[in-house]
Amino acid sequence: MRLLMATHRFCAAVLRFLAERLPPELKLWAEAMRSELDFIEGTFAPLAWTFGSVWALFKAAAMAWLGDAGRERPWAVRFVAAYYAVFSCELAGAIAWQVIGGKIHGPWQDSIFPLLFCFLVALVPAVIAIGLWLLDDAARLMAVFFAVLHAVVNWAWMNQPQVHRPIMPSLRIALDVLAIFLMNRPAVRDAFRNYRIDLRLKG
């Protein structure tokens, strides 16, 4: 009997916790799912009900967020955010390959901090991608700055005498120029300007 009551209280607490943190349109559904617990008998049935309800609310919240994301973000923002996300994965992957592939020959004590630094630098494009996704204007400016820097570096690299195949640097420069152009389009600048993050104080 105690286990039964404890299970019901735990399940109700979980759904009540979620209900308090969901947007208004989903709060109602969380309350609806929680209210059914009072009529579910047994110990495992309420747990299964709660588990399913949490999953349903998570899916609904994710769909609502993604749906909003698709409507609010111009395709140019999604494209450049994806470009930076892939860029970050590529950089992090190259560093990981250095470690996994046994390319580091010096002692680990000398290599660990430079590796960590390189890994943190590799995460910068990912942070820009997240900022673009959240329509943060600082991220848009960082994206432009990073693209300019990357293009200049590739241009300098391409003009080195030892570089015989300039296709990849040229492609990277073209993508950077495209990113700079897209991030400065009036529609994109308006999307960042018009997006507000409402801060609410509790209590």
């Binding site: 609806a32 799912m33 059914e36 009072d38 579910i40 009900w49 399913g52 949490v54 999953w55 609904a60």
Partner: protein, 103 residues
């Protein structure tokens, strides 16, 4: 743009159960038992049907213990759409347009 509902077997089973008692209200747990769908499957279906205004819902004080419960039934549009969906199930139709487009 057409707002259509992709009819999975699970959605069809919910519509079938609701169509058996079109004017009566059903509780969530009862629907779960009658359709044999877990809450994680049932409620996304109810949410989608409510968003398309095929299902309406309201709170009700249950007789057993006076605690509030949420209950559901088909709207007029939902009854029309469910009737077409259930009838068309055997013909292999997988996408149903809202009832207001069928007038």
């Amino acid at each position: 743009m057409v707002d259509s509902v992709r009819l999975s077997p699970q959605i069809l089973s919910v519509l079938t159960i609701l169509l058996e008692k079109p004017s009566e209200w059903s509780y969530g747990y009862d629907l779960s038992r009658e359709t044999d769908l877990k809450s994680g499957t049932l409620y996304p279906i109810l949410i989608r049907l409510a968003q398309r205004q095929w299902v309406e819902s309201r709170w009700h004080l249950a007789d057993e213990n006076g605690k509030p419960r949420h209950m559901y039934r088909l709207t007029a549009d939902g009854r029309r759409a469910a009737a077409v969906a259930v009838a068309g199930k055997s013909k292999g139709r997988r996408v149903l347009r809202p009832a207001y487009e069928q007038r």
